[in-house]
Symmetry: C2
Subunit: 187 residues, 2 copies
Amino acid sequence: MMKRSWVLSRPLYPTPVALITSISPEGKPNIITLAEVFMPCVRDPLTIGLAINPTRYSNSLIRATGEFVVNIPTDDMVRIVDYCGTVSGRDVDKFKMTGLTPEVAVKVKPPMIKECPVSIECRLKQVTPIGYHDFFMGEGLAVHVDETILNENKIDMNKAKPLVYNLGEYWTCGTLIGKHGFTHGKF
Amino acid sequence: MMKRSWVLSRPLYPTPVALITSISPEGKPNIITLAEVFMPCVRDPLTIGLAINPTRYSNSLIRATGEFVVNIPTDDMVRIVDYCGTVSGRDVDKFKMTGLTPEVAVKVKPPMIKECPVSIECRLKQVTPIGYHDFFMGEGLAVHVDETILNENKIDMNKAKPLVYNLGEYWTCGTLIGKHGFTHGKF
């Protein structure tokens, strides 16, 4: 092994892929695909961070309404995921084009996406411009999970089938090779 | 499909797994495994976000020295990854216990990990306490990539073999099913 210095626009992998729903003040919903989604805090309060370029339509919608929903797709939705990340909601109605089904959320106005097994309703708390991106932090107000992916109250990843984003590539998950704590602190 | 409300400590998946190296003011290096790592900005400047519980040893080291390195492991390092996430550097020397090889970094004092094919040197810019976690933002000063995982100047994910973290489970990556832009904006 021999490392060399490298210029990489995205050096971190893998990253989660999510479909973020937002809504215009007039009530028109939109979807954007993001692979820069993050949990700066997992509880008290659950916090979700998003990085969105200032030129994107969803950036202006989330700023205007202060609300968004993080929807986690399955790997068989890869065409939808790519499409929603490459066209603008200024030009097309992505719900109409993709056939995705909007579901009424409980605490916020943007719809959830029915075909995504997990949806996290969020209220915007802070926007921090950082260079090329705006960094949005939202508080998670409600989490919805599709019952069909649950196994004794835990998400079964063989059913959730998450998509993995690897520096511009969409991958499926392979196999389970360990669970947190399986080494029991011994090496 | 029928969604139900759910209490989830970690509703977002998959998340990247990284080994974060830091160093004490006296020069003793440490490693912590994190699955909450993020890029709030991918360029100008490359920014890396980390969420670390205030009780963790690495939290105090990064605060004290203002530097850290993000090292991305391969899936065959899963035992090391779990071990480094379940014991404290206050009690054990994780480099010694795991046999990982420290490599001198170029711009910061914490070492890189030779066995990880990608290392990102970072300087701390900001710490924001958010509930249960502290949210660290660092600027990426240098990126190092192992030549053996490159294919015509791009990372070959079949060689990088990233580990995927799915709500407490370690998974391998499966198969490549698309590249960003493959739908060419058509549905």
